[in-house]
């Protein structure tokens, strides 16, 4: 019984020591300072809902592109503005807003929208290329 008691005491002691060492060496959890806890559970918008919203925004862009082709520049711009309403981070409406301002001959405004399109398209190489080409075109027209 005495041996057992000693072994048991050793066992408990070494267990506690181990836990203490682990606690001291363990990394503290990292808290995100900038993302509020409730925004991270941004079950805010499901993927399906987002998909629908982007489709609606696209529909407006298509309307605008059609108007732009038919030289209905102002009507086109209204569609692009509405598209921004549905997809605030979408670069495509800004790109076409720049096109529309170019069509109207207002290069400073075209440049503003081109810059914005560039801000949002940072993850998309294809559009980055198109936006860069547009920027160059704007430079040439200066």
């Amino acid at each position: 019984v005495a041996i057992h008691k000693k072994t048991f005491t050793h066992f408990i002691f070494s267990g506690l020591t181990g836990m203490l060492v682990l606690a001291c060496t363990a990394k503290a959890p990292i808290i995100s300072a900038s993302e509020p806890p409730h925004s991270s559970r941004s079950a805010i918008e499901s993927d399906a809902a987002r998909e629908h919203r982007l489709t609606a925004a696209e529909e407006l862009i298509e309307q605008g592109k059609k108007d732009l082709r038919n030289n209905r520049t102002d009507a086109a711009m209204r569609s692009f503005e509405r598209s921004i309403q549905l997809h605030p981070d979408g670069w495509v409406p800004y790109y076409y807003m720049a096109e529309a301002w170019m069509q109207k001959g207002d290069l400073p405004r075209a440049r503003q929208f081109n810059r914005l399109a560039r801000t949002y398209a940072d993850q998309n190489p294809y559009w980055r290329g198109r936006i860069r080409d547009q920027a160059q075109q704007l430079k040439r027209q200066d």
Binding site: K27, A33, R41, E45, D74, M77, H87
Partner: protein, 780 residues
């Protein structure tokens, strides 16, 4: 001799037989003179008629419209608000499937809408039957009924906000005679002048008949004025009852008939007649009457509806279906019987229609919607058009307003202010003009669209627009601009002093204090902003330089002078709420400052666009700077002064800042998502204390508003630009976290200002590192 000669002469004269002009010649001469005079007078009248009819015939007030409403699958709706919107657009709820434009069937799971035509300068489409399927409070699908065609997007026509009247307060929608259904024309003729197409301006037989009827009854029971005479009277004559006026009326009628075709005169008459009253505004013409009484365009009026309108001409306010349904029905039936007598409807049809009841739309009083916004708009329109032009040219003015957001804002403000008054007796005032006030503006940060504007609690009592006209101290709501100016030298993780200090301003000592007790001697930049610490903010402002703050703030377009006093850091100068909201838009819109846009298009009567305004933006700060400020303002919401937002089920990305000016004179909250920004101000016009902070007074109003307008929130999160990087830092030192740091946090940094040192507080140096440091110090 002379006498004799004179007598002879006399005799000679009298002997000549006297020449007499025959009576008929006299009469002929009088006739010629009279006819010439009549012809001349007729010619004079003809000139007047021509002048009047070739110029503008009516003063048509300009109409102001809200923006088109976008609906798409996945969108959340506030269903009660959406139903109100449909009612305001004139949709009539029916129990069966909608058969005509303007009808809607509402069930728990769907809205079946027969859409009105959409006709704006930029978009037009004919009305069609659509089904909006609902699940919970979300749109599940939108389909074109019958075609099984799923639609990605549905646009509802713009809602009328109001009209801009001149001295004549008349509403009128012009219609062409070609648009008017035949049964309506016949109903009007049956009611007023069944012989219209057969007389030449006046109806001699009708006059004789009227004389006979009136003599028989001993009082005036029947009139004999033809439609042309009524037109002549309404257009050219005073309402006095005299022979002269009657003569002029007859003559004018003949002149008009000789100058214009019958259809033209009838068209003018149908557009001219007075058909009722909506408050202080007259309802004129059948176009307006069709919309006012039956909520539909004139082309869609049925036989019974047409007879009801025709019956109104006699006494519009007596026979109005909005006033007395049974009287209206009785009069309508008289018209229908007259139509039958004239052979325009068969006995069978008459029998059938007499059984039907009068079904008019609910009386919709002409409330001035969004009155403060309308004033703001009028001020802009005044720069473009003369008041007479706005009141008479029938312009269509298209704006950015969202009426659902506007309704929600008005309700949230009233509820919030009443709540405050109920809680604090000290805030109650007997004089309605001195009551606790508030104001709200809602904007779309990326476009600058003004979605709603509530300039005060009650427009009827005070027309002072506190959003555009007032200048108030923003208090801590100004702090983000101080922190923005600091981003050149500080990161959100940097530590700054929170120990109270005394500053000398104009020879006087000034010692700012924190609102709540906060004994931490040092805090991070992020914490200082999220907890709105005055002491730390002033310390930071003094470190970066007040001139630097002024320089950066000026970029945001504030028109009030900003002076470089230390109290500037705490918002102790006045700003316009509109300008403050606009400035915050730059944080929400990746550094882009939009010009507030409320007026979009102005079109003339024919739909030709006269004026357009497009989104106008200016990049004032980098997207990375805007993101850092937004990120810190998100902390205000998550664990700063506005943590209580969590109680309002605000479960989407929100950034915002409260503000309270000295002695609680002003309370603010400016909050935003990537899609919309709302500013709420609460205070007294005379500057009395409201005894509550921005988080206790303005924030609940903001939260109430936001939860009521799910349709404008996409749920998107804030965009992190490439130039912003994330690093794990020690919350005690603000430097790169090491394994010993007890509270490491992820923090955002500008790409050019990344922390490069390891946490000095918890980093245990190895022997090699110690030797290296010793060498480094030696050479230093």
């Amino acid at each position: 001799m002379k006498k004799i000669k004179r007598r002879r002469k006399f005799r000679k004269k009298s002997s000549i037989p006297k020449r007499r002009i025959p009576v008929f010649k006299w009469l002929a001469a009088i006739l010629v003179v009279s006819l010439t005079a009549l012809a001349l007078y007729g010619w004079h009248l003809a000139v007047q008629v021509d002048r009047r009819f070739s110029a503008r015939r009516w003063q048509i007030p300009s109409t102001v419209y809200a923006d088109i409403t976008l609906l798409y699958p996945g969108q959340r709706l506030n269903l009660p608000l959406f139903k109100k919107k449909l009612r305001a657009l004139g949709y009539i709820a029916v129990s069966g499937r909608p058969q005509r434009k303007g009808q809607v069937r509402i069930s728990k799971k769907a809205f079946e809408i027969f859409l009105h035509d959409l006709s704006t300068p930029n978009r037009s489409r004919p009305g069609f039957l659509a089904t909006i399927r609902i699940s919970g409070n979300r749109i599940r699908a939108i389909e074109q009924t019958g075609r099984r065609n799923l639609l990605p997007l549905l646009e509802l026509e713009p809602e009328e906000l109001g009209q801009i009247y001149g001295s004549e307060r008349q509403r009128r929608r012009l219609v062409s005679i070609r648009q008017v259904p035949q049964h309506l024309v016949r109903a009007v003729l049956a009611a007023e002048d069944s012989n219209y197409y057969h007389h030449f301006g006046f109806d001699p037989l009708g006059i004789l008949r009227a004389i006979y009827v009136n003599l028989r009854h001993g009082h005036i029971r029947q009139g004999a004025s033809t439609i042309t005479q009524q037109l002549a009277k309404n257009y050219f004559l005073s309402p006095e009852r005299s022979f002269r006026r009657k003569f002029n009326e007859l003559l004018l009628a003949v002149v008009m008939e000789s100058m214009y075709a019958k259809d033209t005169l009838l068209e003018i008459y149908l557009n001219e007649i007075y058909l009722g009253q909506n408050g202080s505004v007259a309802v004129n013409g059948i176009g307006e009457a069709a919309a006012f009484y039956f909520g539909k365009p004139v082309e869609q009026l049925t036989l019974v509806e047409s007879a009801t309108i025709a019956g109104l001409i006699k006494a519009p306010n007596t026979y109005s279906p909005h006033v007395n349904l049974s009287r209206s029905k009785k009069r309508r039936d008289t018209v229908l019987r007259a139509m039958h007598t004239n052979g325009w409807i068969s006995g069978k049809v008459l029998e059938k229609v007499l059984k039907s009841s009068v079904v008019a739309t609910d009386f919709r009083p002409l409330l001035r919607k969004a009155p403060y916004f309308m004033d703001y708009l009028s001020w802009q329109l005044a720069a473009l058009y003369a008041p007479e032009a706005l009141a008479s040219l029938g312009l269509s003015v298209y704006t950015t307003l969202d009426t659902q957001v506007q309704m929600a804002a008005e309700q949230a403000l009233e509820r919030g202010l009443s709540r405050l008054e109920a809680r604090h007796n000290r805030l109650k005032r007997k004089d309605p003009k001195r009551r606790l006030q508030g104001a709200i503006i809602v904007m779309q940060p990326k476009t600058g669209y003004v979605l709603a504007m509530v300039g005060g609690r009650n427009y009827g009592i005070s027309q002072y627009n506190r959003i555009t006209q007032s200048r108030r101290q923003p208090g801590s709501a100004f702090k983000p601009f101080v922190y923005l100016a600091a981003l050149d030298r500080f990161t959100p993780a940097d530590r700054i002093s929170n120990v109270p200090a005394t500053y000398t301003v104009d020879g006087k000592n000034w010692r700012p204090q924190n609102y709540a007790k906060d004994n931490e001697p040092e805090v991070s930049v992020r914490t200082a902003l999220s907890r709105s610490l005055n002491v730390a903010t002033v310390d930071l402002a003094m470190k970066i330089g007040l001139e630097r703050i002024v320089d950066r703030t000026v970029q945001f377009g504030f028109t009030t002078p900003i002076k470089a006093y230390p109290s500037l850091a705490l918002g102790a100068f006045e700003v316009s709420p509109l300008e403050l909201a606009r400035a915050y838009c730059a944080f929400a819109a990746d550094g882009v400052l939009p010009y507030p846009l409320s007026l979009k298009d102005v079109a003339d009567e024919n739909g030709q666009v006269l004026q357009r305004t497009h989104v106008n933006i200016e990049q004032v700060i980098t997207p990375a700077e805007a993101f850092l400020i937004t990120s810190m303002l998100q902390s205000v919401v998550s664990d700063g002064t506005t943590r209580s937002l969590a109680n309002w089920s605000i479960d989407f990305a929100v950034a915002g800042k409260t503000g309270t000016s000295n002695d609680f004179k002003d309370a603010w909250f400016v909050g935003y998502t990537p899609d919309m920004l709302a500013l709420v101000w609460v205070g007294f016009d005379r500057g009395d204390s409201i005894f509550a902070s921005g988080s206790a007074s303005a924030l609940p109003i903001w939260a109430d508003l936001l939860s009521a307008i799910p349709h404008v929130r996409t749920g998107a999160s804030f965009h992190r630009p490439e130039a912003v990087r994330q690093r794990t830092v020690c919350s005690d030192s603000g430097q790169l976290a090491v394994s010993g740091c007890p509270r490491p946090i992820n923090e955002y940094f500008l790409a050019g200002r990344l922390p490069d040192k390891k946490c000095p507080l918890h980093h245990r140096k190895g022997k090699l590192e110690q030797i290296f440091d010793a060498f480094k110090n030696l050479f230093k």
